[in-house]
Amino acid sequence: MSIDSIYTELITEHSRDKRNRRNVEGANHTHHGVNPSCGDELTLELRVEDGKIADAAFTGSGCAISQASASMMSDILRGRTVAEADKLAELFLGMIKGDVTDAAELEELDEAIALQGVSKMPARVKCAVLPWHTYQAAIGEQNV
């Protein structure tokens, strides 16, 4: 497994992209996710309106894989219903675990399919899944 399939231009660009790296105005779901063993951290902010994710963005720091994954996820989640987003999270986690490999099935993940190679790099799996686990936690917590 060549690491060139991980550090693709798409992924390194997303990891340095600033578009999704910001606060979300009127965020009503927020969660701070951390990988204690490596120090990757991100705060995901979502604004959910009428069951739909109107905006998603994050702040934090970490490796290229975690940051690219967070950026791609923000793009994918924006405009989705919460039910759709929940399904996408399951799909992404299934892809990284290696449980879902069917290309047609994964198509829904759009650019995040680029992270499929991480499923073959056990040491980096936690980096790729951090944003999605953070999404799952954020959606379960309504800001007060």
Partner: protein
């Protein structure tokens, strides 16, 4: 070096991702020479009985092997036999002091002083203890450009309410040696005890704990070419006599009655239950191995490699040395650096593709990485052992520029 040291370490003779393994993570754990592996094997093949218990030949030989190992280690660190206690590792040794000795001296309103650069092993036990005792944990802030502890910090932080001053002898991130004599003198002046974490210094220099005059010291066998799971707690005899046992059980008692127990004196007092016999024999074999090479040869070799490594890192574009970047400033075993714009975990993953093993991240020193002004609040760390060669250093230096290229930076 007298011969190719790496040949003594079978694990180093392998390829990783099609490249010769270049192991630069001895600060995390050093590899073991055949002599150590053989000694452990022999102990279990030829003796293997429970030390201090049986009356038959095998048990007697096991006892001699175990006690003999302690004698070898005690002499190696300039300590007495009774002051040298086998533990699992430096973390356990430090926890024993925090759990058993510290409560004897810590009071509400008193304080413990440690450098900001401490490994979590020498930080979290004190933090938890301070919380539970209403005491204050104070930090000595290192100079960011040299990694040194300024005298003014020592003067400002250690006061009459200081009960414990704990510090690494050599920082596991910055590689600098801390001014142990000054810290000991400042602690003594206010009646505080000193705890030295010598895990990062014991593989790189001759230690004489009596001469250094610290009250307690801790280290691991696995960072000095010994096996994992054996470490040492050193304590001055008087303190070990005052300190209550950490674990109770077999082999640490003199007499047990229905309602009372008399404990054995140190070291047995602190070694309840069957101990890591193979580990003890292994760490003693590691001591013998180090001494067979000799400190002069080790220090000369490691100093030359480190000077070249720091000079080489300085010369690379987009690379920043963390801590003191003067190649001639003495660093022991570890060099920390960052590659601009590249998270250390990505750098380590890419270097691994070339067979190079380095450590990356926060190095069990989160408060230090938060304090230093480094990108990503994390760094790369290359650390040396006696088996490393100039070739290893050149391979690392030649490969680092590949990291930004693989990350699609256009330089």
């Amino acid at each position: 070096m007298p011969h190719k040291i790496a040949d003594d370490f079978p694990v180093l003779n392998q390829t990783v991702n099609g490249n010769r393994l270049v192991y630069l993570d001895s600060g995390a754990t050093s590899m073991r020479p055949v002599a150590v592996l053989q000694a452990i094997d022999d102990f279990y093949k030829k003796e293997g009985a429970n030390p201090h218990r049986g009356l038959y030949d095998l048990a007697q030989r096991s006892t001699e092997a175990y006690d003999g190992s302690r004698a070898v280690v005690a002499k190696f660190i300039g300590a007495d036999y009774e002051e040298t206690i086998f533990t699992r590792n430096a973390s356990e040794s430090l926890n024993m002091i925090a759990y058993c000795y510290a409560p004897l001296v810590l009071t509400k309103g008193s304080n413990i002083v440690i450098p900001i650069s401490e490994h979590h092993s020498n930080l979290v036990p004190w933090q938890v203890l301070c919380k539970s005792h209403g005491a204050e944990l104070r930090y000595l802030y290192v100079d960011k450009s040299t990694g040194a502890i300024p005298d003014s910090e020592i003067a400002a932080k250690i006061d009459k309410n200081t009960k414990i001053v704990a510090f690494a002898h050599v920082s596991n991130v910055l590689g600098v040696m801390f001014p142990l004599e000054k810290l000991v003198a400042a602690a003594k002046a206010v009646g505080a005890i000193t705890v030295a974490d010598v895990a990062q210094s014991v593989p790189h220099m001759k230690l004489d704990l009596h001469a250094l005059d610290v009250d307690f010291a801790a280290f691991s066998g696995h960072k000095m070419y010994g096996p994992m799971g054996i470490g040492v707690l050193y304590g001055k005899r008087k303190l070990l006599e005052e300190m209550p046992p950490f674990l109770y059980g077999g082999d640490m008692i003199e007499d047990v009655r229905e309602q009372e127990t008399d404990f054995l004196p140190p070291p047995s007092k602190f070694e309840a239950g069957t101990q890591n016999g193979g580990g003890a024999v292994g760490i003693a074999a590691a001591v013998n191995y180090i001494e067979s090479i000799g400190w002069d040869a080790i220090e000369k070799h490691e100093k030359a490699l480190m000077t070249r490594l720091i000079a080489g890192l300085n010369a690379l574009p987009n690379v920043t040395v963390i801590g003191n970047n003067d190649p001639d400033a003495r660093r022991y075993g570890v060099a920390a650096f960052n590659i601009d714009g590249v998270h250390p975990h990505d750098a380590a993953t890419i270097l691994n593709d070339y067979g190079i093993a380095i450590r990356a991240g926060k190095h069990c020193a989160h408060p230090l990485l938060s304090y230093l002004d480094v990108e990503f609040k994390a760094c790369c760390r290359a650390s040396l052992g006696i088996y490393n060669t100039e070739e290893d250093i050149e391979k690392l230096l030649a490969t680092i520029p590949e990291v930004r290229r693989r990350m699609n930076f256009v330089d």
